[in-house]
């Protein structure tokens, strides 16, 4: 008989963030400041996934995100999918989209950029989305996908 039990149990109301690469799960937790929430959160990681190999999943009870909030995670989890849950049913599915501007999430690749030497909130213009390229608002240098470090 097929085992139909879910690895992570269902929620009644809230948001499920699925298809997070296992290596990015805790970065997503930190970008969304989930450690500051006092509502119920279930986190699963390194679950089997046909698409990603190993994936992470976050179930947030009674939490609903605004687009610009959730889109911040696109930098580390570009193929993450959101399921909005009402009364145990998925009422809406969403994908994340990289925003035009990234504020305070990533680090500038340039070691002599002012943001790496003084307490300044980083700010980037997203100049390319397919292969992510971030242009620093301060030093004007490009940080590309391979060099993105999350603060």
């Amino acid at each position: 008989m097929k085992d139909k039990r879910l690895s992570v149990s269902a929620i009644k109301e809230g948001t499920v963030i699925d298809h997070i690469p296992a290596s990015a799960l805790f970065k997503v937790v930190s970008i969304l400041n989930l450690d500051k929430l006092d509502t119920m959160i279930t986190i699963g990681n390194s679950l089997g996934s046909s698409k990603l190999g190993k994936k992470g999943i976050i179930k947030l009870s009674k939490v609903f995100f605004k687009d610009d909030e959730i889109n911040k995670i696109a930098l580390v989890a570009p193929c993450a999918k959101l399921n909005i849950i009402r009364d145990y049913d998925v009422v809406e599915k969403r994908v994340v989209e990289i925003p035009d501007e990234i504020i305070g999430i990533a680090k500038c690749v340039n070691p002599i950029c002012i943001t790496n030497n003084e307490k300044v909130t980083t700010r980037f213009e997203v100049v390319s989305k397919s292969e992510v390229k971030l242009k620093c608002h301060y030093c004007e240098k490009i940080t590309d996908q391979d060099n993105i470090v999350i603060i």
Binding site: N110, I112, I114, T115, E118, V120, C136, Y138, C139, E140
Partner: protein, 302 residues
Amino acid sequence: MKNKNLVSITDFTREEYLRILELAAEFEAKPRQDILNGYVISTLFFEPSTRTRLSFETAINGLGGRVVGFSDSGATSASKGETLHDTIKMVSNYADLIVMRHPLEGSARLASEVSSVPVVNAGDGANQHPTQTLLDMYSIMKTQGTLENLKIFMVGDLKYGRTVHSLLQAMSKFNPTFYFISPDELKMPPTYKLYLDKTGLNYIEGKDLTEFLPEADIIYMTRVQQERFTDPIEYERVKNAYILRREMLEGTKETMKVLHPLPRVNEIHTDVDASPHAYYFDQARNGVYVRMAILTSILGIK
């Protein structure tokens, strides 16, 4: 342009470039005026600079303004660990405008966001040095009578040279044809070539300095520095190929001028200095008029 910051050359529009150049010509005709009387301008030089600082201070003094500032951060609270943020907050209480040079890239943008008075960037690391670009443009305008449709040669270190990158961005508004002459290691970065492609502007890339010279209206020389090469043998091989000598200028246009942001080391042979094509020392003098134009327009006087 009142109260506008000048941090990056792209902060100004084509019309604003032309307005600055027009004003600079007025100041060149009448360099002693008392229009900055009563103004205090702060020159904060966190790293040493001879030309730029003296040029700014000459411009301010020539117009009757007062200068407060420093030319070496060793003698300031920055050496006690004060942040740039705090220094700028404090100084913007004292001065009507801040001129700043700082070794960290992006520092001028940060200063402009923190300051309650306008900030003029006098160089932030290898990033931007917009007043240099405007004085380069003024020199081009003065010697060619126009900025439009010129053939501009950029020679030497095109990879790291901030002056060539800014000049490229600014001159792109005036339909130029660029010739990029450099060793392979120091070629113009793809970002800028892509920008020209998108703008629909033509450029030619080459390694041989003499090949196209008869076509040039402007030759903009920069220095090929040894420390940019990973392979010292490669440096030895190419170093002499990018030195401009007087005999190379034979057959060039009569109106063609050689520019250089200075300091020169050996990339322009001293025998060029006496040539009618040499313009780099006049170029440095133009800096004073251009800075007068920038300061007075930002202060809303002109």
